[in-house]
Symmetry: C2
Subunit: 323 residues, 2 copies
């Protein structure tokens, strides 16, 4: 395949591509990459800053969104959760007068019950994730950024300090964010294989996920940012915003509240120390980017599997090209 | 109500009735008692020898069968589980290659998740049970026999030593039982309120549950058998067998394997140190019972709510009568 020539020329017959991803947008591009690459050639390093315990269960929203998407079982309407899932358990909880604000579909419960059991038996999250993803037929390597606990925390005007999922799901990202931090990040270690994958990658793709909520937590795990920076010449990012609007979720709102520029231009600047190439939507073709970054323009909206594959091919071509 | 006259004459306006119950048969009569008694007048002491952990969840099959039945939400076809429940979680587990042999319906999961969370927060099973049952509108007092762990264990010809649910569900009570014991019973204490309820009861009803699998574990909690024996004159048992066949489940098979007489006659003898009255089905009207026991005959099959109420009324009348 022409699109892999550059990567193949560096690494021999098996290119090794690393993607950094958070939720739905990142999962879609990771899915495209998995579909156009040989089995086993893709490693997805996933944000776990949103992980929390719900009803005693170890919930990993971004890992599951990526896993379900790569396995082809994601709910196509929401982008998260499992297609055809039901809410009988949640309905019964409500009957007990114990509603939970977090969505736990009945099928989704199987994932969370199995993960919780594996973790409670002392296995690290990376091993639990590999088992679950493998059982669903995912051939990409799915890696949590860390096996340690990191919690993305937000101090808000209206509701005080919130854990990420409380902010995101319970309060539908409506409170105004004053400050954001990654609790536990300084003491965390990258999950086994994360640094090695980055170091040996023929290309690194920062997926179109929220820079501060999805990508930054990954980079805050000690060693990961530095490892990516050392591979800057093969790193490419795809903008999560189109024409100053997030494709999905609170990217623009939260970046604005934190005093960051939420345009494609601002996000290019945000990633300036990490990437040499940046992909923006055709609607943003005129935005200026820092001089160290080469801009590429295409349709970055992924409405279907063909879109995901096309964007993945383009990204892989561009990251390997010298111009 | 005429049927309560005897009990009322002893205790004033509020009779206190205690029922000992295990699974489906016991739950049905407990339900009948709850329907014909004033709210709060019934205390059901339930077997927990079948309790176990499944997928990390604290499962209490008999407590839930009684609770769902008293709450009017039990699956009418099986007698256990919740009406209208689905098996999406179990189906997804199978997709993960992790089938479980125990049935955990999606709605049923809410019960087990809440109970597990309450227990893991350090609350005793009796408190967790009261919360769950109260939330479902159960006005009877539902008490586990103990807050300690007791496990009904079976040594079988074909499969060696099994925990009860393995024997009962996984192997469909087909292995031949050589020996049966109640692990942890000697070190257990009755749950708070159990002894008090027995001591102050105007009547005690041993429900039509399996004598060795459901009733005996309750009696093995130190202090309970002795407390019931002291109230023998107000204690009545209802046969769980009709014409040498169990209404449901392995009563006849397991009693035979253990060298016990599984007829109504044998069960009357089994309870001879505990009851003064014993209710048998009309088909068993000619069976002899020990001389210390007065036999009552009626239709003990409970096919609908009316049957449950009728049998409950008859049992309450008989236990209070002097003849």
């Amino acid at each position: 395949m022409a699109l892999n020539n550059a990567a193949e020329s560096e690494q021999g017959s098996q290119p090794q591509i690393v993607a950094l991803a958070g939720g739905v947008g990142g999962a879609k591009l990771a899915h495209g990459l998995a579909r156009v690459l040989p089995p086993g050639a893709l490693t997805v390093i996933v944000n776990t800053g949103d992980d929390f315990r719900c009803l005693g269960l170890a919930v990993s929203p971004d890992l599951d969104t990526v896993m379900y998407t790569l396995a082809g079982v994601a709910n196509p309407e929401t982008g998260w959760g499992i297609a055809g899932d039901t809410r009988q358990m949640i309905g019964m909880l409500e009957r007990y007068g114990e509603p939970v604000w977090f969505s736990l579909g009945d099928r989704d419960l199987a994932t969370n019950l199995l993960r919780t059991r594996l973790l409670d038996h002392g296995l690290p999250l990376s091993v639990a994730t590999a088992r679950l993803a493998g059982a669903l037929g995912v051939t990409a390597h799915l890696l949590p950024m860390t096996n340690d606990h990191i919690a993305t925390m937000l101090d808000t005007e209206e509701c005080g300090v919130l854990e990420f999922q409380e902010y995101f799901v319970r309060y539908r990202w409506q409170p105004r964010v004053k400050r954001l931090w990654y609790e536990g990040a300084n003491a965390a270690q990258p999950a086994p294989g994360v640094i090695e994958a980055i170091e040996s990658a023929s290309a690194i793709v920062i997926c179109p996920s929220n820079p501060v909520l999805s990508i930054e937590p990954i980079l805050r795990v000690p060693g990961i940012r530095e490892a990516v920076q050392r591979r800057k010449e093969v790193t490419i990012a795809v903008s999560p915003v189109i024409h100053q609007a997030a494709v999905k979720g609170p990217t623009v709102k939260i970046m604005t509240e934190l005093g960051l520029d939420p345009s494609a231009q601002g996000i290019a600047a945000y990633y300036a120390d990490l990437v040499e190439k940046f992909v923006v939507d055709s609607q943003d073709q005129d935005i200026p980017v820092p001089p160290s970054i080469r801009k590429r323009t295409t349709n970055i909206l992924m409405s279907n599997d063909a879109d995901r594959e096309r964007l993945a091919r383009e990204v892989l071509e561009w990251v390997g090209s010298k111009t």
